[in-house]
Symmetry: C2
Subunit: 263 residues, 2 copies
DNA sequence: TCCGCGACGTGATGGGCGTCACGCGATATA
DNA sequence: TATATCGCGTGACGCCCATCACGTCGCGGA
């Protein structure tokens, strides 16, 4: 319920968002003028699955978790966005409802940009379509990754993947290896990798036993060898490099009908 | 390796693709001229994960399955595209590599549009960005669905979901219920719902025992009551919880239970 | 007609992991 | 200093499902 942000800091925030990065100052200032900034406590619900889209949120500080839940309360995190990232762009673009729910994982400061403001921007700056596409592309690739992970890896591997992710994006390297700060609860991690809290605990133990990680008290984890941790996985995570041509492998026989997945 | 399609039928095909639907005839003709049409046998690999994008494929007849594999050969289908749909648009737009692999599931006829041709189109018709966005949005929503399904449902539920999908899009209704034609192997289905062939067999049996489906020999399945089948799932999650509106509210209720708050 | 093969059904087995039930230590609140 | 609370570690138990190992049926080819 604060609104202290000066317009200028808001403009800077917006400039950092990939979506708006290429706009000229004037447009940014206009956008900033339409934003509503507020801070929210941990656990604040931004929107839930199926709701009509009211606008887009930009994270200024803190983190927002985007997830789906099933009726029994289980939760699967789709992605987490931090400072300088936009949340819920998709529905903004295609007019559909929010495909998932979102809440803050910690006390956060958020800027809300109403849909109408964005649409006006869109009409006056059709060239931001490029940025929109890049943004959606990023999401899509990430989701493919999430899907694969869920489908193939066991809990330990998923956890390893998560830790490696932290390491590369916020780890500090020392001569003993990379140290990461995990200020999330095991429960949070469990949601993120689609499992139960206890399983996370056990997976951690397992990784420790294999000397792949080492916990330095209080939320800090040492990864002696990131590559080795990374390689623990049945193999690769971002299999973004495989020149191997399949030529003619496990040919899969007939199938037809208006095939559409769904499940 | 045939190329019999006349230009006109190709133009019609392109017009049916959401991506190109709004282009004028002249542009479509130009595109058609740049396409390479060929037919491919079942199991033909269009591209594999990580390859650089060479262009986009449009399915004229048959079906193409887009999937990821893990080193041990397990496979998870991301989606399946049929006649009139484009495959691999994403890498075309954002310049990245293919995020997944694709192959034909049956004898198919495909039109291939080289990347350069598309890029030229894109430069001369910047307004198709709209269509691109819609297209990506559709994919994104679908993937969210796939993810949720994998994360939450057991095999029987995933199978039920798949069958319901068939029913709605290609089922023929009789007075005994909806009859669907499933021309796919149990093995194919297994890939699609992320499980093993044997599990599909058992899940089918289970659904039969519950009278949710009934198999009429030879690839045909009767679904007496689609809604009941649909409802077998732990249930759909579309419930809304609370309307928290950032723009209007000034109250900041403390983090609610909801099962998760963290710091 | 016989044989090979591909699709499907089914039992046995074992492992992963979700769930329940505690214990323990650290922090917060009175 | 006592006491609730929260995050974490662990054992026990049981279900789901992947895998292996066969068996049957139907079909096409020699």
């Amino acid at each position: 319920m604060t609104e202290t942000s000066t317009l200028d800091t808001l403009v800077e925030l917006l400039r950092g968002v990939p979506l708006f990065g290429e706009l000229e100052d004037e447009a940014l200032r206009q956008l900033a003028g339409r934003c509503v900034v507020r801070s929210a406590p941990a656990g604040w619900v931004l929107f839930t699955t199926g709701e009509a889209c009211r606008g887009v949120y930009i994270v200024q500080s803190g983190h927002v978790r985007i997830f789906r839940t099933d009726p029994s309360g289980r939760e699967q995190v789709l992605h987490v966005e931090g400072p300088g990232r936009a949340v819920a762009e998709l529905p903004l673009f295609d007019g559909g409802p929010y495909p998932a729910s979102a809440l803050t994982t910690e006390e956060s400061r958020l800027a809300f940009l109403p849909r109408a403001a964005f649409e006006h921007l869109y009409r006056t700056h059709p060239d931001i379509a490029q940025a929109v596409i890049r943004s959606l592309g990023r999401r899509l690739r990430h989701l493919v990754h999430v899907t694969e992970t869920l489908a193939f890896r066991d809990v330990a591997a998923r956890l390893a993947l998560l830790l490696v992710g932290y390491a590369q994006q916020s780890g500090t390297r020392t001569d003993a290896g990379v140290v990461i700060e995990v200020d999330r609860t095991q429960e949070d991690i469990a949601h993120e990798i689609g499992t139960a809290r206890e399983s996370v605990s056990r997976a951690m133990k397992q990784l420790r036993k294999q000397k792949l990680i080492e916990s330095l008290g209080r939320n800090r984890i040492l990864i002696p060898d990131v590559d080795r941790l990374h390689a623990l996985l049945p193999s690769q995570s971002d299999a973004e490099h495989r020149p191997a041509r399949l030529g003619e492998t496990s040919v899969t026989p007939p199938a037809d009908n208006a095939g559409h997945s769904s499940a």
